[in-house]
């Protein structure tokens, strides 16, 4: 790959090229913030199946992927979405019905697993979860693990501190690196080669990108490289890690995008209501995903007034005073 190449393409093309049935995938953002929703909807629209998803707390996007029937297995820390959904509803049902293979970690452990992947290490240590069922209960059996070359042979390993109590530590938990086939992120600004700038909290996005074999970046603004290079310290992801760049305004909707727009409380709770029942959820998908050509189609159904309501206040970076009841 010529990493200097212009990587701009349509979202449909990016998903078709890099997200396949059975791909191991991670998405950026956290609960109701900066999920790559346009890419999530396009993935559902293309009918991609049996994804293996790695998630810390990517509530909005992951619940839609599960509801859209795209997910076969998930390694996850948190299947909730803040006040919008204490437990994500399609996630809850899929696990209770046994339609999605699942394995639980903590948020820090998932973050460390992406960090290890980005660093090119097989594992990283932590002092979290000793003595808990996160250690004892595995969702992916040793057999499944040994069959699939994309999976580590163990969920984790508990080890004595070889530096005999150094840092007042007797034991650590080693968690295995994640190197997804593809990571999909939504960022505020990117250039045509893929150099990306995230504003506000970065969550685990940067490690998720650097750990992945391919990275799809969707962005609010597609800018000249020179604009980003005038302050290189604020570009967390250099182009060498990126495979595809897609310009998608409101690409995180209905989750928020700091300094651009807030989350849409109405849409989030409509989703939560629809998700409760297979029939109403199918109607929801028909209206907002299958029934539209692309993300602009979804935005048209939401309408200008509602998008206006969630527009970010330049002072605070969110929609000050937005009705969120």
């Amino acid at each position: 790959m010529d990493v200097h190449a212009d990587k701009v393409m349509t979202l449909a093309e990016a998903i078709r090229t890099y997200v396949k049935d059975g791909s191991h995938i991670s998405i950026g953002g956290f609960t109701i913030n900066r999920n790559p929703m346009a890419a999530v909807y396009e993935t559902i629209r293309q009918g991609i199946k049996n994804l293996h998803v790695y998630a810390h707390s990517n509530g909005t996007g992951v619940d839609e992927l599960i509801g859209g029937g795209c997910v076969g297995a998930i390694e996850i820390a948190y299947g909730g979405n803040g006040r919008a959904a204490p437990t994500c509803i399609r996630f809850k049902q899929a696990i209770q019905k046994g339609t999605v293979v699942h394995e639980d970690y903590s948020n820090y452990q998932m973050s460390l697993r992406f960090h290890a992947g980005a660093m090119g290490l097989p594992f990283l240590p932590t002092r979290s979860s000793l003595g808990t069922d996160i250690i004892n209960k595995w969702g992916l059996s040793k057999e499944i693990r040994e069959k699939d070359p994309k999976l580590a042979n163990r969920k984790l390993v508990v080890m004595d501190n070889p530096f005999d109590g150094w840092a007042d530590c007797k034991k650590v938990v080693l968690v295995p690196a994640i190197n997804p086939d593809v990571t999909v992120l939504h960022v505020q600004k990117a250039d045509r080669q893929g150099t990306s700038r995230i504003l506000g909290l970065t969550f685990a996005d940067v490690d998720q990108a650097k750990a992945a074999k391919n990275v799809i970046v969707t962005c609010e603004e597609l800018v000249d490289a020179a604009d980003l290079r005038s302050e290189p310290e604020y570009n967390q992801i250099p182009f060498i890690h990126v495979s595809a760049v897609v310009h998608v305004p409101y690409g995180a909707y209905p989750s928020s995008c700091y300094r651009y727009y807030d989350y849409d409380p109405a849409q989030l709770s409509d989703f939560a209501k629809a998700a409760k029942d297979d029939g109403t959820f199918k109607a929801y998908l028909d209206k907002f995903v299958y029934g539209v050509k692309d993300h602009q189609g979804l935005l048209d159904r939401i309408g200008k007034d509602r998008l206006e309501k969630i527009k970010a206040d330049p002072r605070t970076g969110y929609a000050t005073g937005l009705d969120r009841k």
Binding site: T31, N81, Q96, S106, Y108, T132, A167, C169, T316, R324
Partner: protein, 253 residues
């Protein structure tokens, strides 16, 4: 003085926060409690979120820990690795108090926020750990919000998501965890604490109008009620903080 149960719970929890504490908080009532403490007993406490925001101004109450409202006027906006390192690192971690919730808690303060029934094919699935297991593993003090019901105070939790005192005195050390564990459980009926020696939960304060008997009736295991006294109700100024400063839009309360 008129107040709702949720207001009482928020204030009882807020009183657990000391001035200068670094407060890890999640969404909902725990955030209300942390915000209230800053305007009551702990003006110099620092609220931070697992998403990486430290000392946020919180001009509006966030609906999630990733709500852009946590980013506004923070001292620093980092990421997940930074926030958990703040707790795992003893230099800063020793000063952190965590506020957590759960679906189940046992007498040693172990929490379940993962599932009821078989892990692979659960009867009921919850959100999972999120950062809760990390916080409970790292920090010296935790406040737990619970609903007082038999099934939520079982003899043993269906899935041990976040470590309390595990199976009793010395267990955390034996497993390699840092010293620490839950210090208070704030429920809809009472404030429970943990005995320094036995590490077992006991009834510290029952709410006005609630009898110790009723509290025991809402738990599978029994606890010592001999030290129990009635909880001090919210003061006018505490309620004023909640209603006028922390959550005027009544988003959480």
């Amino acid at each position: 003085m008129d107040y709702t149960l949720r207001e009482l719970m928020a204030i009882i929890a807020a009183r657990e926060i000391n001035n200068g504490d670094i407060v890890f908080c999640g969404t909902g009532i725990s955030m209300v409690a942390a915000m209230a403490a800053k305007h009551m007993n702990a003006p110099e406490s620092i609220i931070f979120f697992e998403t990486g925001a430290i000392d946020s101004a919180l001009e509006e109450i966030p609906m999630a820990v990733a709500d852009p409202r946590v980013m506004y006027c923070a001292a620093s906006n980092g990421g997940l690795l930074e926030s958990f390192a703040t707790m795992q690192n003893r230099i800063t971690g020793e000063r952190v108090i965590g506020i957590l919730g759960a679906a189940q808690i046992d007498k040693f303060g172990n929490l379940n926020s993962t599932s009821i029934g078989d892990y692979i094919r659960p009867k009921t699935r919850f959100s999972g750990s999120g950062g809760a297991c990390d916080v409970a593993s790292f920090v010296p003090r935790c406040v737990i919000f619970m609903q007082h019901e038999k099934r939520k105070f079982p003899k043993t939790v269906d899935y041990l998501t976040s470590p309390g005192y595990l199976d009793g005195p010395g267990a955390r050390e034996r497993e390699g965890l840092m010293p620490g564990g839950p210090t208070a459980v704030v429920t809809n009926l009472a404030l429970m604490r943990f005995d320094e020696t036995t590490k077992e939960m006991y009834l510290a304060n029952y709410y006005p109008g609630i009898t110790p008997r009723k509290i025991l009736d809402n738990m599978e295991f029994t606890v010592d009620i001999s030290k129990a006294t009635e909880a001090a109700p919210p003061t006018a100024s505490e309620l004023k903080v909640l209603r006028e400063v922390v959550d005027p839009q009544r988003i959480i309360l």
